[in-house]
Amino acid sequence: MRRLKFSLVIFAAISALLASCYYDSEEALYPDLNTNCDTILVTFSSDIVPMLANNCLSCHSNAAAAISGNNIRLEDYADVKTNATTVQDAIKHIGPNSPMPKNGGKLSSCLISQFDIWVRDGMVNN
C-alpha cells in the first residue's frame, strides 16, 4: 500500500512537471525587443550605465573589482573607456579574455550592439 501511494506521488509529480513544459524562444516570445532595439541614439547614461549595472557591477564595481572582478572596474566613465575593447571581446565571447557575464548566458544581441555603437561613436560621456 505504501508503495502504491509512493508511485502515485511520483506519477503526480512527473505529470505536474510535464504540464509545465513550454516550447518558447526569446526571439518569438519578445519580437518587439529585436525590432525596438535603439541603435540610433545610444548614450552612456541611458544605455551603457544600466547595462553595466544590471550585468557587470556585481563583480566589477569599484568596491568588488579587486576581489572578484580581476581588478577590472566598470563603474566610472573613465574606467569603462579604458576597458572598452576588453569588454567588447568578453561579452561577445571572443578573444583571450574570460567570456562575460561569468556563469551566465550571453547578453542579448541588442545590448551587445548598443555597446559596439557607443564605442564606434567615440565613447562619449553623454
Binding site: I10, I14, L17, Y22, E27, Y30, K102, N103
Partner: protein, 306 residues
C-alpha cells in the same frame, strides 16, 4: 509526435514502477540462493560530470562539493584558470536501496537543481544472470540568474529545464566498467527559433581501475541535434579524469570542456573546445554519512528487516 511518445512513456511509468517493486522485493529478500550481485561498478554516483548507475544505499547521505576552474589556455597570469572558479554543492540521500534523490545549487547561471534516480535492475551472476545494471535519472533545474532585460515580461517557466536519462552500465571485469546513457533535455526557453528546446544525446563513459583506490575515468556525450544552427557555438562535452578513494571520501579530478556540472548545462551549453585548449580543470569531492544503520546488516544478525 515527440510529445505523444513522452506522454505514453510517463503514463506507463507507474506500472513499470509496480513491476520494479516485485522485482525489488525479490532483490531485497535475497531469496535467490547462489546469486551474486555486482557491486562498485563505479566508485561514485557520477562518472565525471554525469550520473553513473550507482546510487546511495538506504540511509546514506552524500555531500558533494564540486569545482570547475577557468580554462587552461588562460595562461600563467590567471594561473591556468585556477583564479576563477565555479562551484556546485549538493546533498543526495538514498531513501531506499533502489531510490535516491538529491538537491543542489550551482554557480553556473545560479541554478538550483533536484534529481530522482531509480535503480530497478542490478547486474548479477549465478542463479540469476543479469548482464547489465540499469538506472533511470530524472531532474529539473531552475536558473535563478537575473534576467538581462528585467523590463520585458519574464515568465517563471522560462527558468526551468528538465532532464531524463536511462543509464545502462556493465562491470566487464574487476578493472573495467562501461556505461551508455541515452539522454533527453528539455529547455522551456531558448534564445532563437532555431535553437532546439528538446535536446537528444547519447553518452558513453567508463572507468579503468589502476589500483585498488585509483581509477581513470572518461565520459563523452554526443549531441544528436545538429549544432550548426544553434545561436551559441556548442561542443560535445568530453571529460577525462581520476577517481581517488580514501575511506569515506571519493575525490574526482577532472579535465573537461564544460563549466556546468548538471546535465542541462553540459549537454546543451558546453562552449569549450578541446582543440583550442578551452579545458577546465576541476574536482568533485564526495563525502558520505551513514544516517541510518544499513538494513542488510540487520538481516545478517537475524533481525527481521522492516
Amino acid at each position: 509526435m515527440r510529445k505523444i511518445s513522452l506522454i505514453v512513456l510517463i503514463s506507463i511509468l507507474p506500472f513499470a514502477l509496480f513491476s520494479q517493486n516485485d522485482l525489488l522485493d525479490i532483490l531485497n529478500k535475497d531469496s535467490i540462493p547462489g546469486t551474486v550481485y555486482t557491486t562498485a561498478t563505479f566508485k561514485s554516483t557520477r562518472i565525471m560530470n554525469g550520473h553513473s548507475i550507482e546510487r546511495m544505499h538506504e540511509g546514506v547521505l552524500d555531500f558533494r562539493i564540486s569545482h570547475r576552474f577557468g580554462t587552461l589556455n588562460m595562461g600563467p597570469y590567471e594561473f591556468f584558470g585556477l583564479d576563477q572558479s565555479s562551484t556546485h554543492l549538493s546533498l543526495e540521500y538514498g531513501f531506499l536501496d533502489w531510490f535516491m534523490a538529491g538537491i543542489g545549487r550551482g554557480a553556473y547561471e545560479k541554478t538550483f537543481d533536484g534529481f530522482l534516480k531509480f535503480s530497478p535492475v542490478r547486474q548479477s551472476s549465478g542463479t540469476r544472470e543479469m548482464p547489465v545494471s540499469v538506472s533511470f535519472m530524472t531532474s529539473a533545474s531552475l536558473r535563478s540568474l537575473k534576467w538581462s532585460d528585467p523590463e520585458r515580461m519574464n515568465y517563471f517557466s522560462s527558468r526551468l529545464a528538465y532532464v531524463a536519462q536511462v543509464l545502462i552500465g556493465r562491470k566487464m571485469s574487476e578493472g573495467l566498467s562501461l556505461q551508455i546513457m541515452p539522454s533527453y533535455v528539455h529547455r522551456n526557453l531558448v534564445t532563437t527559433e532555431l535553437d532546439p528546446n528538446d535536446l537528444y544525446s547519447i553518452g558513453a563513459g567508463g572507468r579503468i581501475k589502476l589500483t585498488k583506490r585509483i581509477s581513470i575515468n572518461a565520459e563523452y556525450y554526443y549531441l544528436v541535434n545538429p549544432k550548426k544552427y544553434m545561436s551559441q557555438e556548442t561542443f560535445d562535452p568530453l571529460s577525462l579524469g581520476f577517481d581517488i578513494e580514501t575511506g569515506g571520501h571519493v575525490f574526482q579530478l577532472i579535465f573537461t570542456n564544460s563549466v556546468a556540472m548538471i546535465e542541462k548545462g553540459f549537454i546543451g551549453e558546453t562552449t569549450g573546445d578541446w582543440k583550442k585548449g578551452q579545458i577546465h580543470f576541476g574536482f568533485n569531492i564526495s563525502r558520505v554519512f551513514t544516517l541510518k544503520a544499513p538494513r542488510r546488516s540487520a538481516d545478517d544478525r537475524g533481525v527481521k528487516g522492516r
